[in-house]
Subunit: 202 residues, 2 copies
């Protein structure tokens, strides 16, 4: 249940690496098979074709996100002992992030990469990343308002602005990850941006 490590699993993992690094078009079935240590023809015993591997990756990602999602009870329990909205927010984000599978970041990069070219990736991005994050943020901000921890504000617009900000930060984070240079303290900057965003709502 934790980590199968079957050939099918290994293929998917290799494909995640290669799709993220070279793009869906740029990574060939040969590349993927070579990395797994099998021949191309063997790969077709596990997946119908190249497109099917990408679909499998998307399904895997959806499961991972769904499993990491905090339940209503968990969220309430989380909020119980904390009176500082900024600390509460940051702790919540850190906890959620820690529950995401290892490959989540790389797969998000693939989705982001193919979003404009592949309809399934585009759908996934809109439905399971963008809108879901906005919906969740609306709920969380609403809770903070109800608890009197931040002032009233237009929830949807504020949530959109927050999610877009995070999205931009994630993007440059990925870019600095690729080039390594001038990475500086990008992770700290993300946290600072999140903190000052919530701070600005108090």
């Amino acid at each position: 249940m934790t980590e199968e490590s079957s050939t099918k699993e290994l293929i998917r993992e290799a494909a995640v690496d290669l799709f993220a690094a070279k793009g869906f078009k740029g990574a060939s079935v040969r590349d993927i098979a070579r990395r797994v240590g099998i021949k191309e023809s063997s790969l077709y015993n596990h997946y119908k074709g190249k497109a099917a591997i990408l679909e499998s990756i998307l399904e895997y990602q959806l499961e991972g996100i769904n499993r990491a999602m905090l339940s209503r009870e968990e969220m309430d329990a989380f909020a119980a002992g904390e009176s500082d909205p900024v600390k509460l927010w940051l702790r919540g984000v850190a906890f959620y992030s820690s529950r995401l599978p290892r490959l989540t970041g790389k797969i998000n990069r693939i989705i982001h990469n193919e979003m404009y070219l592949d309809e399934k990736c585009r759908r996934f991005f809109v439905d399971h990343i963008l809108e879901r994050q906005i919906d969740l943020t609306v709920i969380l901000l609403g809770d903070l308002v109800d608890r009197g921890m931040i002032r009233e504000c237009p929830l949807v617009q504020t949530a959109e602005r927050y999610v877009f900000m995070l999205h931009g930060l994630a993007q440059i984070s990925t870019i600095y990850e690729i080039d390594l240079k001038r990475d500086g303290d990008i992770q700290n900057r993300i946290v600072e941006h999140m903190a000052s965003f919530i701070e600005g709502l108090t």
Copy 2:
């Protein structure tokens, strides 16, 4: 000077369309040549290869951005007759946008698309889009503060948040452009977000 329409120009224009629609890898030299109405081999009389076409597109984009840029004098003249920071901001954005070449949006999409795969596109995005927009926004916000039109705030952090927000909005704008469905009033939403962002700084 205005629009050459030479074969070289036509090739670049066709390439912009195809790279934006199918990606750099997905659009073949054959595709580009066919759209122009010449044979592939003829294309190599104008560009050294496929990569050279993309480079030419980036150079074209850089020129367009540089030409559209408002000078210090233009910015001051713009600010002279307006006392409402929101109106001033929106008018400035609209004016700058109106000076951008026709292909700018499509080329930005290409850059965004290849950003993670191609180093030149990644460099262009960081240097000429992201950092430039942030630098400009810092200046503009600083001006507004100096004029007493908005309150003091951490300029860089605020500018980053603004640029990232716009970036996210541009992204979903592109997505809705592709799928057409549920486009709604995305352009209005962008303007609303810009307005409420500046409004929140007063």
